[in-house]
């Protein structure tokens, strides 16, 4: 009499996605940026953690089967959905960051498309200036967060800092101000104007193009607590511009 082992399949609603070069990164790390252990912490373990918690938090709710971005957009305005928003936003931002990374050797073969490069040159006066500004903003962030290059409705590019789990998609929840201490008057004005815009349901058409991970767990194992600047410098050399190019929208063929 054969013994039939009951087939119990475990699956969660949200599964951590697999990067294109995940196998390579898992064994060697991202050469030029992260070691194998650092990559495991920042992506494999962290994304797993985020998706598991997102599943647990959304099961039985209206967000059950939605993608992380959809959850972000529907819970951004609701403060009581803070935990759900946190996991969804982090999951989306983290994937956005890791999707654009390649080993530094391969990064040299990818070029920025002219539409994006021209806009960067127009607004920042050159790629180096843009790089410096982006990395400076990332470096000057005290605490964890993300720095995004976004394209607004006016076809202008902006570099925004998002503290902790802020999202670049909505001005009311990008958490660009560090409210942990005193803020300047201009920041206060920004808060008030944001609140007015939110009450008036003003839409935000910003879309992210490039992402910098300024969360500590992304660099602390390799670079230590003081190595943020080194990490940011090395990050610039590991960007896969092909991926970034695909993200850019142009209204002419």
């Amino acid at each position: 009499m054969s013994f039939l082992r009951p087939l119990v399949s475990k699956r969660s609603l949200h599964l951590a996605p697999k990067l294109e070069l995940q196998g390579k990164f898992a064994s060697e790390g991202i050469s030029g940026l992260m070691s194998q252990q650092q990559f495991k912490t920042a992506w494999i373990d962290y994304q797993d953690y985020l998706t598991k918690n997102l599943s647990l938090k959304t099961v039985g709710t209206e967000f059950e089967t939605r993608t992380p971005l959809a959850i972000v957009l529907s819970s951004a305005r609701k403060q009581h959905l803070g935990p759900i928003f946190h996991y969804a936003s982090q999951a989306h931002n983290n994937h956005l960051f890791f999707q654009q990374l390649v080993p530094s050797e391969s990064s040299r073969s990818s070029l920025i498309r002219p539409t994006l490069l021209n806009r960067i040159n127009e607004q920042y006066g050159g790629l180096d200036n843009f790089k410096n500004e982006l990395l400076f903003k990332a470096d000057s962030m005290t605490g964890n967060g993300w720095v995004f290059l976004i394209e607004t409705k006016d076809k202008t590019l902006q570099i925004i800092t998002c503290n902790n789990d802020g999202t670049p998609y909505y001005y009311g929840r990008n958490q660009s101000l560090d409210l942990n201490g005193a803020i300047e008057l201009s920041d206060y004005d920004l808060l008030i104007s944001n609140k007015e815009k939110m009450l008036a349901h003003v839409k935000d058409y910003s879309l992210p193009l490039l992402c910098v991970n300024v969360w500590e767990h992304a660099y602390i194992e390799d670079y230590g607590i003081t190595g943020k600047a080194d990490y940011l410098e090395k990050f610039w050399n590991c960007i896969n511009w092909d991926i970034v190019n695909k993200r850019v929208f142009s209204n002419v063929q």
Binding site: R11, L13, H14, L15, A16, P17, Q47, L50, T51, L54, E64, T65, R66, T67, P68, L69, A88, A91, H92, N94, H95, L96, Q99, K153, D154, K155, Y205, L207, P208, K246, R247, F249, N251, V252, Q253
Partner: protein
């Protein structure tokens, strides 16, 4: 000669610029590539002629001052040889034009397939040919914002996690599975195996029952799969033969599925109430009515009185719960219309011609079954139209025109 050679080189440049490459058969013959080069050739020919004449005339000048007199002294034959001494442009251009036209004709004939090719590999913007793009300095227009959002959704919308094997209710209506894609697990997930309480059992459903559990009968899903496949074949056959299928879903949640299924196979639906006498006591005679050929093109034939007065009946009725539509069942029997129906454990399977044993109380299950049948009907409908189209092509009848009785 040097002039002719320089002409050839320029022409070659132009030819490669235009993207066309020719190998001229004649070494001296200039190869034409387009109208512009044609003009150039004519000019060059004239130049050559002029040069030749001029050389001759220059020679003549030494002899005679009057060039025209020299020419007039030539005989007709000599003059003609002089005129025709310049190399004529080859007639390759006819072949070229013919080849191009043939290519164009081929693409035009296969334009339906071409459209599909383009759609799959084209960018998002090519789907919106009428979009007026805004300039660099302006902000995006509303239309552009919508397209931009769609582009973003395609590229980055799903980033963050992978959501797989999840029940999305609208998919049962928008993308129902095909008959060959039905599995027991899909049906189980819909709850199609849950029969009624054992107290309400209709004994005739005994062959469909798997067993008893917690006071209810459990329907055998293997049987459901085979009966459902059979029913799909029937719907497919009816639509392929040009028949009318009527979908009957009288419950509230079944409306969308029933509507969509009817739309797919060019059929009809009844959702809220089956008016008793719809078939057997038809009071309103649908008018105006027209005859259509097998490709659904109106034949514009004058119908005689009998044909105008005749009651139009469906050729197949699909009932999502025959127990709740007993009046419709009776009318179908009276009018000798075959029926397909979802038969639960409390329902008599002999109510319908082709029963499908499943849970009729689960809207998810009925939506799935209705979707599968609609999809099968769509396949048959498409096959019919395709067959008629091919037949019309063979007879070289244009697509818009109906087939006459003699065809």
């Amino acid at each position: 000669m040097s002039l002719a050679r320089s002409c050839i080189s320029t022409r070659k440049c132009l030819a490669t610029l235009a993207g066309i490459r020719f190998v001229s058969t004649a070494t001296n013959a200039p190869v034409p590539a387009s109208h512009e080069t044609q003009k150039e050739i004519k000019e060059s020919d004239e130049k050559i002629e002029n040069k030749e004449i001029s050389t001759k005339s220059i020679a003549a000048l030494h002899e005679d001052d009057d060039i025209l007199q020299h020419i007039s002294e030539l005989t007709v034959g000599q003059f003609e040889t002089l005129i025709n001494s310049a190399p004529k442009p080859s007639l390759n251009r006819d072949e070229v034009v013919l080849k191009k036209f043939q290519q164009l004709l081929k693409t035009y004939i296969n334009r339906d397939e071409l459209k599909r090719e383009f759609r799959s590999s084209s960018s998002l913007l090519s789907q919106f040919p009428n979009l007026v793009p805004t300039s660099k300095s302006e902000s995006y227009s509303d239309a552009e914002l919508a397209i931009r959002q769609r582009h973003h959704a395609q590229v980055m919308g799903k980033l963050g996690s992978v959501v797989r094997d999840v029940y999305r209710p609208h998919q049962l209506i928008n993308r129902p599975p095909r008959p060959n894609q039905i599995t027991v697990s899909k049906l189980l997930a819909c709850g199609a195996h849950l029969g009624h309480s054992t107290a309400l059992w209709n004994n005739a459903t005994q062959p469909f029952i798997y067993g008893e559990y917690k006071g209810i009968h459990v329907i055998d899903m293997d049987k459901t799969v085979s009966f459902l496949k059979r029913a799909s074949k029937i719907v497919e056959g009816v639509t392929e033969s040009g028949g009318l299928v009527l979908f009957l879903g009288l419950r509230e949640g079944q409306m969308r599925a029933v509507k969509e299924a009817a739309r797919r196979c060019n059929g009809y639906y009844v959702t809220h109430k089956w008016v008793p006498g719809t078939i057997t006591n038809s009071l309103e005679n649908p008018k105006p009515r027209q005859e259509v050929d097998m490709g659904d093109i109106p034949t514009k034939r004058e119908l005689n009185q009998d044909e105008t007065r005749k009651v139009i009946k469906p050729d197949l009725i699909v009932m999502l719960s025959p127990l709740e539509s007993k009046v419709a069942v009776k009318e179908a029997n009276q009018a000798r219309i075959p029926t397909i129906g979802i038969v639960d454990t409390n329902c008599d399977p002999q109510l319908v011609t082709y029963p499908i044993p499943a849970n009729d109380d689960s809207i998810r299950a009925t939506n799935l079954i209705c979707g599968v049948l609609g999809k099968a009907g769509e396949a048959g409908y498409r096959r019919r139209l395709q067959a008629v189209r091919q037949y019309k092509e063979k007879l070289s009848v244009p697509e818009d025109e109906p087939l006459s009785a003699t065809d």
